[in-house]
């Protein structure tokens, strides 16, 4: 059970390749494209699936501007008379949670990126006796599902007196990001050509220099892709924050969810305000994902991550 990351030679990102190799590849790509040809029907199917997948987003947006009576009459109708008031109430009720949640997510994601890059570098570049055993201790975490540690973690955080503290979330988040990040970045750093390191060593570079100026820049697209996954996951996380950060200390998703009691039929009006609050909460993540889209799509697609 080894997870491998093979860099797929196809297109953007690897500027070091020769022109000859590139034009040979372009030719191969052109041939390959001739072989498969079902563009129009395929795109129609993709369009249908995509539209279905966007229904929740549409529902959230349109109903964040409507009221309970309007949903009842036509759930998927457009907001003919938008009720901007929903957004005013929603922002009023949830804005207190933004600075703390942003702090928690930013510190956690940057911390995960730095520590997993360091661990990935150590496993990829250093030779030491217990290396593989230590690696499997990290890798094994992928097989320990989060739920088993949820309750003891909650008890531990209580004992550490971190209930209601941002660090009560940051520390478990930092730990939780280690396994996937370290495993993926180890293989990514291993696939960096040895000559780069050799050349640097001849110039007298030490490991800190090579880490900073060779490993970090070349692993950056993958680090950014993993970072985005972490941002999205942590920003929307609910279960652990709901245990640790309650009331005035709530994170954004806890604050919004706590808006109505989780029963089958919440009053429709608060439902609309809740949807408006979630729309607001999606804005920062949306901006980030769209700005970073290229890294995310290419970073994850160029490396064939498999088990």
């Amino acid at each position: 059970m080894i997870m491998t990351v093979a860099t797929v030679g196809n297109g953007a990102g690897s500027g070091s390749r020769s022109d000859a190799a590139r034009s040979a590849e372009a030719l191969a790509n052109r041939r390959r494209r001739k072989i498969r040809s079902l563009s129009i029907p395929a795109q129609i199917v993709l369009l249908i699936v995509a539209v279905l997948g966007y229904i929740p987003a549409y529902f959230m947006l349109s109903n964040s501007l409507r009221d309970g009576a309007a949903i009842g009459a036509s759930p998927f109708g457009l907001p003919t008379r938008p009720i901007w008031q929903n957004f005013a109430y929603a922002w009023e009720a949830s804005r207190f949670a933004y600075p703390r949640t942003a702090f928690i997510v930013v510190i956690s994601v940057l911390g995960i990126a730095l520590t997993t890059l360091m661990a990935g570098y150590a496993f990829a570049r250093f030779k030491f006796r217990e290396k593989e055993a230590l690696f499997y201790i990290v890798f094994g975490l992928l097989l320990i599902p989060g739920f088993i540690t949820l309750i003891p973690l909650y008890v531990e955080i209580t004992k550490l007196n971190l209930i209601g503290s941002s660090w009560g979330l940051i520390l478990p988040y930092l730990a939780g990001g280690q396994a996937l990040g370290t495993v993926v970045l180890r293989t990514a750093i291993e696939s960096i050509p040895e000559e780069l390191f050799e050349a640097a060593k001849l110039d007298g570079a030490n490991d800190l220099w090579m880490f900073r100026y060779i490993a970090v820049p070349l692993a950056a697209p993958l680090v950014i892709a993993l970072g985005l996954l972490n941002v999205v996951g942590l920003w929307g996380d609910y279960v652990l924050p709901a245990l640790i950060m309650q009331g005035d200390l709530a994170t954004v998703s806890v604050a919004i969810t706590g808006f109505t009691p989780p029963i089958i039929a919440p009053s429709l009006n608060s439902y609309n305000i809740q949807l408006a609050a979630f729309t607001i909460a999606s804005v920062p993540i949306g901006i980030l994902v769209f700005v970073m889209m290229r890294y995310f799509v290419s970073g994850l697609s160029q490396s064939a991550i498999k088990l």
Partner: protein, 282 residues
């Protein structure tokens, strides 16, 4: 030097991953309310679970959920990846990947709340059924025991996730061009190519997503917790929710951890079995 680079990682996973995991396993053999000192009671928590009908109901539910939910998590995403991969222009491929990535910005809680509404007694699903004259099919999907679990399992239609699409796509992209050409020269049709070339070449991606999906589906706490809280009765109870309720709502930490430990052992066994079976096939 190596140890310096590894130190932060090992401190973090030691304190916040391995310590709680081990203390969960230890707590499973005790009676503990979360405050007073735990009392060692041997395997009593386990025998109690085995004679608890709620435990068996939960085990059956998660089995059914995994059996149906795991293929749902993988196959639609593979089909989408396949369709994107077969588009002619690189540009179109990029745009479609972006289209399927974008919805991930929605908070997961939102899609749960929306499905809660879709399944409601006055919700859109029933409105459509009434509109086409199938009034007898109208149900309060989450409130009727014989439908609630199915409603949870099939939530999230069309079940396409950005991560899975991109992983499958990367696997398809990694198939050597010569092999694609060779199989085309042999006159292999589209289905033959998928069966004999693309499925074998993406087996690593299937294995990875299979293991991640089993873990994901079996430990999904948010959906039953927010939508039904296990009800009506125990009709949507799952082991992870059962563990959560016992520990958090009833203060029976030992019992909760025993349930969690058993679930973990089953998931671990399944993961290892998967990798063995799938490797043997390679």
């Amino acid at each position: 030097m190596a140890y310096g680079f590894l130190l932060p990682t090992f401190i973090l996973i030691g304190v916040f991953c391995y310590y709680p995991a081990i203390s969960a396993a230890v707590t499973a053999f005790t009676q503990w309310d979360g405050f007073n000192p735990p009392k060692f009671i041997g395997v009593d928590n386990f025998t109690r679970a085995f004679s608890d009908p709620a435990f068996w109901a939960a085990a059956w539910h998660v089995g059914l959920w995994t059996l149906i939910g795991v293929p749902l998590a993988m196959i639609p995403s593979f089909i989408v990846a396949e369709l994107i991969f077969r588009l002619r222009s690189e540009r179109a491929q990029y745009i479609w990947r972006a289209v399927f990535v974008a919805p991930m910005i929605l908070p997961p809680v939102v899609s749960i709340l929306i499905w809660q509404y879709l399944y409601g007694a006055d919700g859109p699903i029933n409105t459509v059924l009434k509109a086409v004259g199938k009034d007898s099919w109208v149900h309060s999907w989450l409130a009727e025991p014989q439908f609630a679990l199915w409603a949870l399992i099939f939530m999230g239609f069309p079940w396409v996730t950005a991560f899975n699409v991109l992983i499958f796509y990367s696997g398809l992209k990694a198939i050597p061009t010569e092999q694609v050409e060779a199989s085309a020269l042999d006159g292999a049709g589209r289905w033959k190519q998928i069966l004999h070339l693309e499925l074998p070449h993406t087996s690593g991606q299937w294995k990875l997503l299979l293991v991640l999906s089993i873990i994901g589906v079996s430990q999904n706490l948010m959906i039953p917790l927010l939508l039904t809280n296990g009800g009506p009765g125990t009709s949507t109870l799952t082991p992870v929710l059962f563990m959560y309720q016992r520990a958090i709502n009833y203060g029976e930490y030992g019992y909760g951890m025993a349930i969690g430990t058993m679930l973990f052992v089953v998931v671990l066994a399944l993961s290892i079995l998967n990798m063995r079976v799938l490797r043997a096939k390679d």
